[in-house]
C-alpha cells in the first residue's frame, strides 16, 4: 500500500530553506516493494512508503512492528531482503545523512573529546582542522550548549552526550537525519530540552527528519506527519497530519487541535494493537 502525503498548506512559521522552490510535500524517501524476513517471521512484505521532504516524520507503532528496523534498513544499517529505497531518486551511498542512535553511551567514541566526536564525520570526508573547528563552533552556537566541548563523553551527562550525538549527525550538513528513539534513555528534563533544540534546528535548516518514537505525545509534538504502523506483517495503518504551527511550546500540549490529533493517533494505535 502506498501512502500519498497530503499537501501541507499551512507552513507560515517555518523558515524557508534551500529547497523551498519545490513543493514542500514532495516525497524525499521512497520505499518500494520492501521485504524483510527474520528467521521465521515476515516483518515487511512488499512494503511501500513515501516520506516527505523537509518535514519531521515520526514513526510510531505497536511493539515488535519493526519501527527501528524500518529506519535501520532505510539508513543502510540492516540489509534488506528485496525492494528499493531511493532518496530523491538517488541511492543511499550518494547522499549525506545523519543517524542518531538510541544508546548514546555506546555510539559516541569515549577516546575522543566531544568536539572531535562531532568533527569525526567531517574528518572522514577529509575536512581540514580549521574547517572542522568552524563547523563545530557553528553547531555549538545554534544548539546553544552550555558545556565544554573539550570534555570527553564520559564526563558529560546523558543529555549532553545525546546532544553531542545529534551535533555529530548534523555536522556534515546531511539531507536526511534519522533518529532512533533519541529520547528513550534520557530523563524528562533533558527530553524537553533536546526536543526544543531539535525543533529549532529543523526550523532553521528545514532538514528532513525521520524520528522513531515510543512515546505518542513526543511523536505528535515533534511531527508534521505521524506514520502509524500496524502489527507485522507491517503496513502503514494511517498517516496523520499534525497542524499546530511551529514553534510548538508547552502550551501546544494543551491546544485543542493537538489534543484531538493525539486522540486520533491513540485511537488508530489501539485499533491496530487489538486487530
Amino acid at each position: 500500500m502506498s501512502v500519498i502525503p497530503k499537501v501541507h498548506q499551512q507552513v507560515p512559521t517555518v523558515a524557508p530553506h534551500a529547497n523551498s522552490a519545490q513543493p514542500r510535500s514532495r516525497s524525499h524517501i521512497t520505499v518500494r516493494g520492501l521485504t524483510k524476513r527474520f528467521a521465521r517471521r515476515t516483518l515487511y512484505q512488499n512494503f511501500d512508503l513515501d516520506l516527505p521532504q523537509g518535514r519531521i516524520t515520526t514513526v510510531f507503532g505497536p511493539n515488535g512492528c519493526g519501527k527501528s528496523t524500518l529506519i535501520n534498513m532505510i539508513a543502510g544499517l540492516l540489509p534488506i531482503d528485496s525492494g528499493q529505497i531511493l532518496f530523491d531518486g538517488k541511492e543511499l551511498r550518494d547522499i549525506t545523512f545523519g543517524y542518531v542512535f538510541q544508546n548514546y553511551r555506546e555510539a559516541l567514541f569515549p577516546w575522543m573529546r566531544a568536539r572531535d566526536n562531532i568533527a569525526y564525520p567531517l574528518r572522514i570526508r577529509g575536512a581540514s582542522k580549521a574547517e572542522c573547528n568552524r563547523r563545530v563552533e557553528e553547531l555549538a552556537a545554534s544548539f546553544d550548549i552550555g558545556f565544554d566541548l573539550n570534555l570527553r563523553p564520559f564526563n558529560l551527562s546523558g543529555g549532553q552526550q545525546q546532544l553531542v550525538s545529534i551535533m555529530r549527525a548534523l555536522a556534515p550538513n546531511p539531507e536526511v537525519l534519522f533518529l532512533d528513539e533519541p529520547f528513550s534513555a534520557l530523563d524528562y528534563e533533558m527530553t524537553l530540552f533536546i526536543r526544543d533544540r531539535l525543533q529549532a534546528i529543523f526550523m532553521e535548516t528545514g532538514i528532513t527528519m525521520i524520528v522513531v518514537s515510543h512515546d505518542l505525545e513526543e511523536a505528535v509534538f515533534l511531527a508534521d506527519e505521524v506514520f502509524l504502523l500496524s502489527k507485522p506483517p507491517t503496513r502503514v495503518a494511517k498517516v496523520i497530519r499534525v497542524d499546530p504551527q511551529r514553534p510548538r511550546t508547552d502550551q501546544t500540549l494543551s491546544d485543542p487541535d493537538f489534543v484531538a490529533t493525539k486522540a486520533e493517533c491513540l485511537r488508530v494505535f489501539q485499533q491496530e494493537v487489538r486487530r
Partner: protein
C-alpha cells in the same frame, strides 16, 4: 479462606546477643579505622605471625629465619652484595621477552581479530599453545637457541606473546557493535573503522593481556634462570642460596623477586589508567 503466612522458622538462629555484640564491634572498627589502616593490617599481621613463629621456634630456625634477619640480609645484599645486578639481569630479560611479545602480539592479534575467518582458522592453534605450559618447551628452545639467555628470553617471549595476541584479538572481536556501526554509518571505510574504532575498542582487553603477559614472562624467566644455565639473575640467586643452605639469602631474593613482580603490575595499572581512561 485465607491463611495468614506463618513467620519462617529455622532450625537454629544466630543468638541475638552475639549478633548485637558483633555488629557493635564492627561499627567501632569502621568508625576508628581509615582505609589506609585496613590496607596495612594484612602486612602487619603477616609480619607478626612470621616473627612469632620464628622467635618461638615453632618451625626450625634452619628453615625459617626471622623477618628482621631476612630484611637485614636483603639490605646487606642490596648495599654491599650484588643483588641489584641480579635484579637488573632478571628485569632486563623480562622486559626483552615482554617487548618482543608486545611488538608482535598486539599487531598480529588486532589483525586476527579484525578478520573472523583468519581468526577462526588459527584459534585452535593459539589456544592449544596458550594452554601448554611454556616450561614444557624449555628443551625445545634449548635446542633451537642453545644454552644461554637467548633461550630464556625466547621461551618467555613465546609464552607472553600468545597471551597478548589472544587478548588483542578478543578485544577487537568484542568491540562495541554500536560504535562500529556508528563509524560505518558516518561513511568510514573498513580501514578507518579499524584504526579509529576497533583499535581503541580493543585497548582495555589488550592491557589485560599485557599485564598477564609480563607476569608470565617474569615467571618463565625466573624458572629458566634456575634450570637453564645462567650465571646471574634472581632465579639463579635463589637456587644458589638454596644449594648452600643460605636461607636468609634465599628469602631475601624471593622478596626481591616479589618486589619486581608487584612493581611491574603497579606500573602497568598506572599506564592502563592513563591510556584507557574511559573504562575507569
Amino acid at each position: 479462606m485465607s491463611v495468614s503466612p506463618k513467620p519462617p522458622t529455622y532450625a537454629w538462629e544466630f543468638p541475638d546477643r552475639i549478633k548485637a555484640t558483633l555488629s557493635h564491634w564492627g561499627r567501632l572498627v569502621n568508625a576508628y579505622t581509615s582505609y589506609f589502616q585496613i590496607y596495612i593490617l594484612g602486612p602487619i599481621l603477616l609480619y607478626s605471625i612470621w616473627w612469632i613463629t620464628s622467635s618461638a621456634e615453632l618451625v626450625s630456625p634452619r628453615l625459617l629465619p626471622g623477618p628482621n634477619e631476612t630484611f637485614h640480609q636483603l639490605w646487606m645484599s642490596v648495599v654491599y652484595g650484588d643483588l641489584l645486578l641480579d635484579f637488573w639481569g632478571t628485569l632486563k630479560r623480562t622486559l626483552y621477552a615482554f617487548g618482543i611479545a608486545a611488538a608482535f602480539g598486539i599487531p598480529i592479534g588486532v589483525m586476527l581479530g579484525a578478520s573472523r575467518k583468519i581468526y577462526g582458522s588459527v584459534e585452535f592453534v593459539v589456544d592449544f599453545f596458550r594452554s601448554t605450559p611454556a616450561t614444557a618447551m624449555f628443551p625445545l628452545f634449548l635446542l633451537l637457541f642453545g644454552i644461554g639467555q637467548e633461550a630464556q628470553i625466547a621461551v618467555a617471549a613465546f609464552a607472553a606473546l600468545l597471551i597478548v595476541l589472544f587478548s588483542a584479538a578478543y578485544g577487537v572481536i568484542n568491540a562495541t557493535k554500536t560504535r562500529v556501526l556508528a563509524a560505518r554509518v558516518m561513511g568510514a571505510n573498513r580501514w578507518r573503522v579499524f584504526k579509529d574504532v576497533m583499535v581503541y575498542e580493543s585497548l582495555p582487553q589488550t592491557f589485560v593481556g599485557l599485564r598477564t603477559g609480563i607476569s608470565l614472562a617474569l615467571v618463565v624467566i625466573i624458572v629458566a634462570e634456575m634450570f637453564i644455565g645462567s650465571s646471574n639473575g634472581l632465579g639463579r640467586r635463589i637456587i644458589d642460596a638454596q644449594q648452600v643452605y643460605d636461607l636468609r639469602e634465599m628469602y631475601a631474593s624471593i622478596i626481591a623477586t616479589g618486589v619486581m613482580g608487584y612493581s611491574l603490575n603497579l606500573l602497568f595499572i598506572a599506564i592502563e589508567r592513563r591510556v584507557v581512561r574511559w573504562i575507569h
